[in-house]
């Protein structure tokens, strides 16, 4: 009898633990948990300054009151960041088609600011037809980088071939500095919908 009660208790507690640990059976990985957490409650990110590929300065959140669509890259990335770059270009077109070009800004932020100089950012931008207006490439100051990565939940680890492996996504940041949604770089519908939501 005691054993039965104990077992039932264990099942209840264990089930509760797993339910908690997976956000109610919705997230088995840290990446899906990150996206789910943001979707449930937008999270504040510390404001930071950036230097763009044209040498100008910019900020996140956007000082002009635009919604920022932010991805993290490094310019010498041979794989993911290149396809992410192509996705950003297409996303830019979709933003224009949606008539949001003057209320949204696209930003590819380098997480390797010491290596990614203005010239390197510029060449990456040219390779992917970044216009510098709607979409630009930018880098933060190295000393604030850890804070930024931690705020956004981005983890970049050395890939043993001189580059990095990192989680790739488009982060939707509202004008008042809240991270409101995270989507795959190719999920244009989802990103546009999240941008509209953030503009409301």
């Amino acid at each position: 009898m005691q054993a039965l009660l104990a077992s039932l208790l264990v099942v209840a507690a264990g089930g509760g633990l797993l339910w908690q640990a997976t956000d109610g059976g919705q997230a088995l990985t840290a990446e899906s948990a990150r996206r789910l957490a943001v979707q449930r409650a937008p999270q504040p990110v510390s404001p930071f300054a950036l230097e763009t590929m044209s040498g100008a300065s910019a900020t996140i959140p956007d000082a002009r009151g635009k919604v920022a669509l932010v991805e993290f890259i490094y310019t010498t990335c041979p794989t993911l960041c290149q396809s992410a770059g192509a996705d950003m270009f297409r996303l830019g077109n979709r933003v224009r088609e949606a008539g949001l070009a003057d209320r949204v800004t696209l930003m590819s932020v380098s997480f390797d600011p010491e290596f990614d100089t203005v010239e390197r950012m510029k060449s990456y931008g040219e390779r992917h037809d970044a216009d510098g207006a709607l979409w630009t490439i930018a880098r933060p100051r190295p000393d604030v980088l850890p804070q930024i990565l931690s705020d956004f939940g981005v983890i970049a680890i050395p890939d043993r071939m001189g580059g990095y492996t990192h989680n790739v996504a488009v982060h939707v940041v509202t004008a008042d500095g809240r991270l409101a949604a995270i989507h795959d770089t190719g999920d244009f519908e989802g990103i546009i919908a999240a941008a509209r939501q953030a503009l409301r």
Partner: protein
């Protein structure tokens, strides 16, 4: 007559539970046969059936028949192993309870949830229904399989550990000393034990593999980011499915080894060739599954060649050992006593052997290219199910009810047996003919030129159902009379 015959005719351990299980199985078999009849009638344009409903029936018929074949095989295994080793009674009830839980989940998934992903749950069909059924229905179906898998695992663990303990390990129970020429035939375990040990091993392995692919499919249902490799999943599913349905037949044949000697008067002994054959069966059953993947040209060529070769080799233990021995025993018999039980058991081995012919031929890659997934495939497996495994199960049921006067071949019983054999033969031959005419299997709607074949098959199906219903009725009446014993 054998000296221990009088003891053998008494009910074995847990006869009550086994009799109840067989009654349940008989009723489910009838219901599933009706589903099959409805599908053939729909293909023959005799009735109007919505394709979604057709595929639900298809799913229920497949899962139900495989499950019931497994259930009858397990009951036979349990009953006869109870003669040799002390089995824990609770395990059989747990087995039956979990099995029924699985049945409820599967039926709910199909007829409430609308699941129609076929019994093979081929990845990623359960997760990708095109809007016909929901995730929860697919999950309930898969969980039903998990429950049934756990049921079988429990049963095999109990049988396996007792056989291992009593017969000196796996090797002892498989009569390996005899194989190596170290022991004598008198010291070897009885044929039923050898068969039970081999089945226990390969179906436990099959269940473990099945559990892994079921778990993967379940996770994929709810977390699509967890992709499953379609080819690997297919390999695991066919390994599991092939091993399971084969295990059903290999368990049912235990009834032949145990019951036929009562009729022939000659004990069925474990000979060296018998022991070798069963050790080979153990290997072959697991190595042969790639013959389901002969049209996956991305599979390594050696594995497909192995599928074809082992498919042929698998026929040898069946034909040269079980079938050959049975024929020898029948011929040697000093006036064999024929009744419904012995007739059905012999029919079971005959049907199984006959059905292996089209199976082996379909296992050739060049034939498979034009026969795979045509009605040739249901053709061959319906032979060794209707006229094989299920015939053995009905034979076991008839033997269970005891009194010879209930089983004498004549009148009602002769009519039932004739209807069943004639119906089964005609029904399965129509499948083979349709397969040769390139009629694909699992099509809800048939082209006009195939309709006549389906209509003829529908008639034969009706005959099978009539025969089977008469068996079940005979069993029920027999149970009533034998209840007092």
């Amino acid at each position: 007559m054998m000296d221990n015959n009088s003891a053998q005719r008494l009910p074995g351990p847990q006869a009550g539970a086994v009799k109840f299980t067989m009654l349940l199985a008989g009723v489910v078999l009838l219901l599933m046969m009706v589903f099959g009849f409805v599908m053939r009638a729909a293909q023959g344009n005799l009735i109007d059936l919505d394709p979604a409903m057709f595929y639900q029936l298809l799913t229920a018929h497949g899962a139900g028949m495989v499950g019931t074949a497994g259930l009858t095989g397990a009951a036979i295994l349990w009953y006869f192993m109870g003669r040799y080793v002390p089995l824990a009674r609770g395990v059989f009830w747990a087995f039956l309870g979990l099995f029924l839980l699985g049945v409820v989940l599967i039926l709910g998934a199909i007829f409430i949830g609308g699941y129609g992903g076929a019994w093979t749950f081929l990845f990623p069909l359960p997760a990708n229904s095109g809007g016909v059924w929901g995730t929860d229905a697919a999950a309930a179906f898969l969980l039903g399989y998990v429950a049934i898998g756990v049921a079988f695992l429990l049963l095999y663990l109990e049988v396996g550990r007792k056989l291992i303990a009593c017969y000196g390990g796996i090797g002892g129970a498989l009569a390996w000393p005899l194989v190596m020429g170290k022991g004598t035939a008198e010291d070897a375990p009885p044929p039923a034990v050898v068969a039970a040990m081999a089945t226990t091993i390969f179906n436990t392995i099959g269940t473990v593999v099945g559990a892994a692919v079921l778990a993967s499919s379940l996770v994929n249902l709810y977390f699509p980011e967890f992709k499953v490799d379609a080819l690997l999943a297919k390999n695991m599913i066919y390994f599991f499915g092939h091993v399971f349905i084969n295990a059903s037949i290999y368990m049912a044949v235990i009834a032949v080894y145990e019951i036929i000697p009562e009729y022939t008067g000659t004990p069925w002994k474990t000979s060296r060739v018998f022991a070798v054959a069963w050790s080979l069966v153990l290997l072959f059953v697991m190595a042969v599954y790639p013959h389901h993947l002969l049209q996956d040209t991305v599979m390594p060529a050696w594995s497909l060649a192995m599928g074809q070769i082992v498919s042929y080799l698998s026929g040898i233990p069946l034909l040269a050992v079980t079938a050959f021995s049975l024929i020898v025993y029948l011929r040697k018999a000093n006036a064999m006593r024929w009744d419904l039980a012995s007739a059905l058991l012999v029919l079971g081995v005959a049907g199984w052997s006959v059905g292996s012919v089209p199976a082996i031929i379909d296992g050739m890659i060049s034939v498979n290219k034009v026969m795979h997934n045509t009605q040739w495939v249901p053709g061959h497996f319906h032979i060794y199910l209707i006229l094989g495994e299920v015939a053995m199960a009905f034979g076991f049921m008839m033997w269970l009810i005891g009194k010879p006067e209930h089983k004498a071949v004549g009148g009602f019983n002769w009519a039932a047996f004739s209807a069943y054999v004639l119906g089964g033969t005609g029904f399965t031959l129509m499948f083979l003919v349709s397969g040769a005419l390139s009629v694909p299997r699992r099509w809800a709607v048939h082209a006009p030129e195939w309709v006549l074949q389906s209509q003829i098959a529908t008639g034969f199906a009706l005959l099978v159902i009539v025969g089977a219903a008469m068996f079940v009725l005979r069993y029920l009446l027999g149970l009533k009379h034998s209840a007092g014993r």
